[in-house]
């Protein structure tokens, strides 16, 4: 393709550094020429290398698997690294994920929130007490069950679901779809010794599953297409039963 046929893109990027006294949020516009196969990762990297070395954003894997680069792209949360500019218009608006602590420009502290969420939900396999003898053959698991667990385990903690969540916008202590999906995942796992009564302790309130208003934007923006609607409904049924029991 000849150079002349490439579009000129205009990226309107939300700039704000909360650590700089007197700084105020503003949109800054960068112009650059589109290239074949250009992703927002490539575009933003080029802007930082050639136009504005102060621009803050987060990319790690640049392959859509680590969840670092979630941002609001033309109004919707998504992974910037795997968003091809050719699927966007010539005017592209980028903003940091809302809800999370802003580090600067497009960089937000999803990691801190995710860690706190994991601690609060005790989001790890709670093993049964006793010795684990690593020389022995592993415990068996139904192959279909392993696949179902992996299906939920694919969450990359990017924060898109929480950023898209209207409930979280009003309730800052809401665990979000990411948290409820984790509960569904551990509940499915026979290696986790917890019971529904234990799970009720962490998500059985309005900051947990009962706070969810089923707006399902989480489900619709999830870059990994996790079955969040189904899983949240599942957790709700189990916790409601636990609450009645």
């Amino acid at each position: 393709m000849a150079n002349g046929t490439h579009r000129k893109l205009r990226l309107h990027v939300m700039r704000y550094n909360p650590r700089v006294p007197g700084d105020a949020p503003r949109l800054q516009t960068y112009e650059l020429e589109e290239a074949d196969g250009m992703t927002l990762f490539i575009a933003l990297t080029e802007i930082r290398e050639k136009q504005d070395p102060s621009l803050q954003f987060d990319f790690v894997c640049r392959a859509g698997i680590c969840g670092s680069c979630a941002m609001v792209i033309d109004g919707r949360p998504g992974l910037a690294c795997r968003t091809l500019t050719k699927n966007l218009g010539e005017e592209i608006t980028l903003a940091p994920l809302p809800f999370f602590e802003l580090i600067g420009d497009l960089s937000v502290n999803t990691g801190k929130w995710m860690r706190a969420m994991s601690e609060r939900l005790e989001a790890w396999v709670h093993m049964r007490a006793g010795e684990l003898d690593l020389t022995r053959i592993e415990e068996r698991m139904d192959p279909a069950l392993a696949e179902r667990i992996y299906e939920l385990d694919r969450c990359i903690e990017c924060g898109c679901c929480v950023a898209a969540c209207g409930t979280a916008r009003m309730r800052e202590d809401f665990v979000g779809a990411v948290g409820l999906n984790k509960i569904a995942r551990f509940r499915l796992d026979p290696r986790d010794a917890r019971t529904d009564a234990d799970y009720y302790e962490v998500v059985g309130d309005d900051a947990g599953v009962f706070g969810c208003m089923s707006l399902l934007a989480c489900h619709d923006v999830c870059p990994k297409n996790l079955p969040l609607a189904t899983q949240i409904a599942f957790v709700r049924r189990k916790m409601a039963r636990e609450g009645l029991g």
Binding site: D36, R48, P53, L84, N109, G111, R115, E138, D153, R191
Partner: protein
């Protein structure tokens, strides 16, 4: 000035770092993990295909054990590996997989009965055993005699780091996210922690620790075309080098993965070929059997990558706007398999290429993938020269990969080394003589010196552009220190990199602000990366043989007589423009598997003078002990169990091998 005190400072929050931290913490030591990014976002996550461990559950893995895994790994390394370490590794790998299974990794499991697989382009029906039902399954990977790679669909690294990261949270191990170690604190041959920059505020802090563990992965970003994440810049490896005391081993040993998608370089897993995918050229011809009749697409990575480039050089590449590439054809695996077992591949092709791999071929070309070299350690993971400095995983030259790593052995190394080195670090911290006794004044001086360097960058009058220097370095590395290497070109590369290093001392920043200042980060990183690049390029130039992934067109043969040695690079003085190279011989007389032909790739090599004698000796032992159990034979050839932490010495049970 802020000083954080802890027992163990782990630099890097990937699989190796997390597992080291868990090991030390469960032995009762305080641990702090430093990580550039939230731990679960580390590059370990990108390991798609799987982790090698000789469980032998699937029918195609029947008969697999530590001995077979050992031989595959040593052959894969082209005899560059430390065989004792390989033994430690293969004996611990099954334990690591089983530990992860208990921690929640949803390993893909064996379904008993018939199933259709693709082997060598043909549909074959294999029958899994009833007694293996529900046990962890294995898939085929390059360079292995048995199906040995345990996997979770094609998100193995993701599932592993999720489970290990969760355990670290359960153990209340603090991860100081968005921090970067920019210098090691050391005094009189002893390492005491690191000077650390907070990437959010820009503030410097000192972390003082009894033991410091570098678990920061590889340095793929020395190259322009790499499968590595953007954070894989090798900075912690470089700060070890900058001590002038710790040595880096075999930095010239760089692996190129055959199937980076073209042109972005994003990895598609070896599992594609392991599961039956084929490499094809511009004519749609499957060319690998022409070069490697035995292993075909599943020869080791160095061999396949080289054959691919060779084939492109013959004019068989597919021409495109961005250059030439080849095809990876997985259409024969069928939609169900691709959508279930190669799901990430499907997504990557869909999002980045707009290609549907169920129906279309994937454009691929080899891309930088792995740093076999790293901080040289002994079998405990400790630097032999800088006490208290440990390393594990890709950042280390422990050295189980030698000059070429097998697919599936890297994630395996992260957790195995994590288990082993974690124990040794705990032992180290247990010993009273290893208490921290560095004067605070000294820590302050070191911190002040680092602050002064940063201030000079921000406030100085330099004129060089950091980002431009970095791009130039990456281009030189990809163009001149790549898959095919040649003396004169390497000499040129070294000279150019030296110039870049000199220029990097005159970097000026456009962005003078304090705080995060990403340009400042680029500036100090490129200074360090150039030193690593020089270790790679100069090591490659000096090593006048071909071994594993290091291929010299002017010296195409492996030369055991002169080069059965590990390169050790140190950086003696800040004003140097080249590393100081030394060589550490590998002792043929103690090898369980004396050097020979790998079973694939070039067959001609120059023997070490001691090889014949050792081969005869090994042969004699095997003859004399014919009929004895394999453990006794192994023990007679090269005892290693004493090297392992006591709790990891046990024999591994299998369905065909019970104790």
């Amino acid at each position: 000035m802020k000083i954080v005190y802890t027992d163990v400072l782990v630099i890097g929050g990937g699989l190796a770092g997390l597992r080291v931290a868990i090991g030390a913490k469960r032995r009762g030591h305080d641990v702090v993990i430093l990580s550039l990014v939230p731990a679960k976002r580390s590059h370990s996550k990108a390991a798609q295909g799987g982790m090698q461990a000789s469980l032998g559950n699937v029918i195609k893995g029947q008969g697999d054990n530590e001995d077979v895994h050992f031989e595959d790994t040593v052959r894969g390394s082209d005899w560059g590996a430390d065989q004792e370490v390989v033994r430690m590794f293969v004996n611990t790998a099954p334990k690591a997989v089983r530990e992860l299974a208990a921690w929640g990794v949803p390993w893909s499991r064996v379904r008993p009965g018939d199933r259709e697989v693709i082997i060598n382009g043909q549909k074959v029906t294999i029958t899994e055993r009833e007694e293996a039902a529900g046990l962890i399954a294995q898939r085929d990977f390059g360079g292995t005699k048995k199906w040995r790679t345990c996997y979770v669909s094609d998100g193995t690294g993701h599932a592993m780091i999720t489970a290990v990261g969760d355990q670290a949270i359960a153990d209340r191990i603090p991860v100081h996210e968005r921090t970067e170690a920019i210098a090691l604190i050391h005094d009189a041959g002893r390492c005491y922690g690191a000077i650390v920059r907070d990437l959010v505020t820009g503030e410097l802090r000192a972390y003082v620790a009894k033991a410091t563990a570098i678990c920061s992965g590889g340095a793929g970003r020395l190259y322009r075309v790499t499968t590595n994440a953007v954070i894989c810049e090798g900075i912690p490896t470089a700060i070890a080098l900058e001590t002038g005391i710790a040595a880096l081993g075999n930095m010239e040993a760089i692996q190129f993965h055959p199937t980076g998608i073209f042109p972005a370089g994003i990895l598609v897993t070896e599992g594609c070929r392991g599961d039956g995918g084929l490499l094809k050229d511009a004519d749609g011809h499957r060319f690998m059997p022409d070069y490697e009749p035995e292993k075909k697409e599943l020869a080791s990575r160095d061999v396949v990558s080289r054959r691919m480039e060779e084939h492109i050089a013959k004019g068989k590449g597919v021409k495109s706007r961005f250059g030439e590439h080849l095809w990876l054809d997985i259409t024969l695996l069928g939609e169900k398999h691709i959508r279930n077992n190669l799901r990430e591949v499907y997504e990557i092709c869909h999002y980045f290429l707009g290609v549907d791999p169920v129906r279309e071929w994937i454009p691929v070309r080899p891309a930088q993938h792995y740093t076999m070299g790293g901080v040289r350690t002994d079998h405990t993971g400790e630097s032999p020269t800088l006490k208290g400095l440990f390393a594990a995983g890709e950042a280390a030259c422990w050295d189980m990969h030698g000059f070429n790593r097998l697919g599936g052995n890297s994630v395996a190394e992260t957790v195995v080394a994590g288990m082993i080195v974690g124990e040794f670090i705990a032992d180290f911290c247990d010993r009273a003589e290893n208490a921290v006794n560095i004067p605070t004044r000294l820590v302050q001086e070191i911190l002040a010196a680092e602050q002064a360097k940063l201030d000079a960058l921000v406030g100085g009058r330099g004129t060089e552009d950091a980002a431009a220097l970095k791009v130039r370095m990456q281009e030189i590395m990809t163009a001149k220190v790549g898959i095919f290497r040649d003396g004169p070109v390497l000499e040129q590369a070294v000279a150019e990199l030296e110039q870049l290093l000199v220029r990097s001392r005159n970097i000026g920043l456009r962005c003078k602000g304090g705080g995060a200042n990403p340009e400042l980060a680029t500036a100090y990183r490129v200074q360090k990366m150039l030193k690593l690049a020089l270790c790679v390029a100069y090591g490659a130039y000096t090593r006048t043989e071909s071994r594993g992934a290091h291929f010299r067109q002017d010296f195409p043969r492996r030369n055991d007589a002169e080069w059965l040695r590990r390169t050790l690079a140190t950086w003696k003085s800040g004003s140097d423009t080249l590393p100081t190279l030394a060589y550490e011989p590998l002792d043929v007389a103690r090898m369980e598997l004396p050097p020979g032909w790998r079973g694939y790739g070039a067959k001609d090599y120059i023997d070490h003078p001691a090889t014949a004698a050792r081969a005869a000796e090994v042969e004699a032992v095997r003859r004399r002990m014919a009929g004895a159990d394999r453990f006794a034979v192994q023990q007679a050839l090269m005892p290693f169990a004493h090297l392992l932490p006591a709790r990891l010495r046990g024999r591994n049970e299998r369905i065909d091998e019970r104790f």
